[in-house]
């Protein structure tokens, strides 16, 4: 589904990703872990097409298409969803209006008729229940005055509404207490099926207690330095990232 080959990218002339390789197949959950500054969020931003980031080498294909060639909105319409670490506030724009516009723009891209008001409302009610969301959130301005937990819940609600093939969750757990993490992770789990995939970017292991990964990758200094199964996450949690750093420096010495 997603194939990243030797991806190199940076911002403002600073190289951050130094050759990433990653394959994600339908139905899989991948977790990317790593210390601060290792390039985790850069990877998410590059995949979603944030403008400030410049790709300097390598390739990314999604369902056989060159992802890097597409505009951010086309990537979204192709089925790539980014759950933002810091969801953006738009004063005066209601969440309902925002999501409705997004759903219908994506349907338009796919040559589908726009959803009518009744169909949209029905879908919204369904997905809201999934995320244990309060109706009032939808009429409030997008993310404005939302608590950290509400913002992240809103991200997963949008994911549910847009039904992406690949969901990239950028530190969705950051700033959340354990109950909020459970709600968010359970929401993601309910959306999983054999045709879609999740790439969860996180600093801590605890999200992975609820969102169990098939593969765990450790990102360090712009490269994936270690891959394994969910046990790797537990090992990291136990030993801390220093163990990776030490391993790396030993390798260099060797």
């Amino acid at each position: 589904m997603l194939r990243i080959q030797n991806l190199q990218a940076g911002i403002e002339g600073k190289q951050i990703l130094k050759g990433i390789n990653l394959d994600i197949k339908p139905g899989e959950v991948h977790a990317i872990m790593g210390p601060n500054g290792s390039g985790k969020s850069t990877l998410a931003s590059v995949l979603a097409g944030r403008q400030d980031y410049i790709v300097t080498g390598g390739s990314v294909t999604f369902e056989g298409k060159d992802l890097l060639d597409l505009s951010p909105e086309a990537r979204a319409a192709e089925g790539v969803f980014l759950g933002f670490q810091y969801p953006v506030e738009i004063p005066g724009l209601s969440t309902t209006n925002f999501v409705k516009t997004a759903v219908n723009e994506i349907r338009k891209y796919r040559g589908q008729e726009p959803l009518d008001a009744v169909g949209f409302l029905k879908m919204m009610k369904e997905k809201m229940a999934l995320m244990e969301m309060d109706q009032s959130m939808l009429s409030r301005s997008l993310n404005e005055g939302f608590s950290g937990g509400e913002k992240k819940r809103n991200e997963i609600f949008q994911m549910a509404m847009l039904n992406p093939r690949l969901a990239i969750l950028d530190e969705t757990d950051s700033g959340l207490d354990i109950d909020a993490i459970r709600v968010v992770a359970n929401g993601v789990n309910k959306l999983r099926n054999k045709d879609n995939a999740v790439l969860a970017i996180t600093h801590y292991q605890r999200l992975l207690d609820y969102l169990v990964p098939d593969f765990v990758h450790v990102l360090y200094n712009g490269r994936i330095v270690k891959s394994g199964t969910k046990e790797l996450a537990l090992e990291l949690e136990e030993k801390g990232y220093d163990f990776i750093k030490n391993e790396m420096s030993q390798e260099v010495e060797a």
Partner: protein, 480 residues
């Protein structure tokens, strides 16, 4: 939404949507302005002597006045002798028989999405349609008359209700008020008159559509609304004009009188032709709008200003009566070479008077957008309250957004607060929308409508939809 607005949707496609010219013969005054022009207009309207005298006096005053130059706008000098001051569609029509309207005229209003046929209308909006200098048709007159409401062209009111016109015309905006008000008083040709009797709640929205059609013509309409004690009326105003290379002058006057406990809600969607991308053509819009509130009365101005090459407009409220309230909600959009200098004046004279100002300016292209407002609390206006919020949004780095509030307080029990911010459409906001599959143009429209929501919410439903579309269209192509 009803028929009317779906038809507007259809006409709203790209650039200026109302730029067509209707091919109708018109009956014009000769170009230029002197006393004979004033007499010509008065004679055309069969006006009584007192009305002519009133005009001539205003004309005399206008000659002595100077065009104001304090606003933050630039335009070449206006040649007042190069304007036709009166243009009327040639056909004589009786306002009571809508079926007799020239089919070309009817088409014009159909294109604008305004049905003059009462049977066809779904929503209760009574319409007065003014084309160039003359009111063409007023709908729902009989239904309104049953409640004692008068809604008719002002020229008709001069004939039919001289006592009301004599009493109120010029009572809020005297001819000497300013240069353009004096000019209007001398040469105004038509406009709407509304009178709501004591205790009556007007059952439908009253609405006037203004359309400039003829070439080289100025439009000088005058609107007068009187709400007697305890009455209520909501009035809507819409304006469009053809695309022409030359600049056309529009200098209107609107006067509102809200007697004790009365409420007037006045909404405008101003979409005069703004000129082309290079700043050629467009309407020069110099408008004086003012209302007076008596005891416990309320006047609320809402405006969505997207059109005109030049906008010079400050809908104001004189809060004369104790416990009266004034409101001003405004969205002003400027794009390309447009210039707008608009805002309000809230004159607190009575005790416990309240005012609220919400102004949202959006600038794009190489346009200049200024908010200019005055809040004045006089010595005897105890416990006056004002809250003003003026926000500006910039799209592109070649436009300007300016805020010029004047706050004068002479009473220590007043509480006056003013806040203003300037920001641009954030790249992070656009990216967030993009990531959800929304293209940049749509994203900008969403963000802008969000920015302006507080004001849009004040508009009657029928207008709100039209206004939202207008915002998006006015800014089309301004974000790449």
């Amino acid at each position: 939404m009803d028929d009317k607005f779906s038809s507007i949707e259809q006409t709203v496609l790209s650039d200026y949507k109302y730029g067509f010219v209707t091919d109708i013969e018109s009956d014009n005054a000769p170009k230029g302005l002197d006393e004979s022009t004033v007499r010509f207009i008065s004679a055309k309207k069969n006006e009584p002597q007192w009305m002519l005298d009133w005009r001539l006096k205003a004309f005399g005053q206008w000659l002595k006045m100077k065009e104001p130059d304090w606003a933050n706008i630039n335009y070449p000098p206006i040649n007042y002798q190069d304007i036709i001051y009166y243009a009327a569609p040639k056909q004589k029509i009786s306002v009571d028989s809508l079926d007799d309207i020239d089919p070309e005229l009817r088409k014009t209003f159909d294109k604008l999405g305004i049905s003059l046929n009462e049977q066809k209308r779904l929503s209760g909006v009574a319409v007065d349609a003014v084309i160039d200098s003359v009111s063409i048709a007023t709908t729902f007159k009989t239904q309104l008359a049953e409640q004692g409401i008068i809604f008719c062209p002002i020229s008709e009111a001069v004939q039919e209700h001289p006592e009301l016109i004599k009493k109120y015309l010029g009572s809020v905006v005297p001819a000497t008020d300013n240069y353009f008000a004096a000019l209007n008083a001398a040469v105004f040709s038509d406009g709407s008159f509304c009178y709501i009797p004591k205790g009556v709640r007007c059952p439908m929205e009253l609405s006037t559509y203004f359309r400039i059609n003829a070439e080289n013509t100025g439009q000088f309409e005058r609107t007068l609304i009187v709400a007697e004690e305890g009455s209520y009326v909501s009035y809507l105003e819409g304006c469009t004009a053809p695309m022409r290379d030359e600049n056309q002058l529009h200098a209107a006057v609107v006067e509102l009188i809200a007697q004790d406990h009365a409420e007037i809600k006045y909404s405008t969607v101003q979409n005069w032709y703004p000129g082309d991308k290079d700043g050629r053509g467009g309407i020069y819009n110099f408008v004086t709008k003012r209302g007076i509130c008596h005891e416990s009365a309320k006047i609320s101005w809402t405006q969505v200003e997207t059109g005109s090459a030049i906008t010079w407009k400050y809908p104001s409220v004189i809060l004369k009566g104790d416990n009266s309230t004034g409101e001003f909600y405004s969205v002003a959009v400027t794009n390309n070479h447009q210039q707008a200098d608009t805002g309000t004046k809230m004159q607190h004279l009575g005790k416990n008077t309240r005012s609220r100002i919400v102004s949202k300016g959006i600038s794009a292209g190489v346009s200049q957008n200024s908010y200019r407002g005055l809040v004045h609390v006089s010595k005897r206006a105890s416990n006056a309250r004002n809250y003003s919020q003026c926000d500006s949004l910039l799209l592109g780095d070649k436009c300007g957004a300016h805020t010029f509030p004047y706050i004068e307080v002479k009473n220590n029990t007043a509480v006056v607060e003013h806040e203003a911010t300037t920001s641009k459409v954030g790249e992070d906001q656009i990216f967030y929308c993009n990531q959800r599959g929304i293209d940049t143009e749509t994203a900008v429209a969403l963000i802008i409508n969000g920015f302006a929501r507080e004001v849009m919410n004040q508009l009657p439903m029928e207008f709100a939809v039209e206004a939202q579309k207008l915002l998006a269209i006015s800014l089309e192509g301004s974000v790449g």
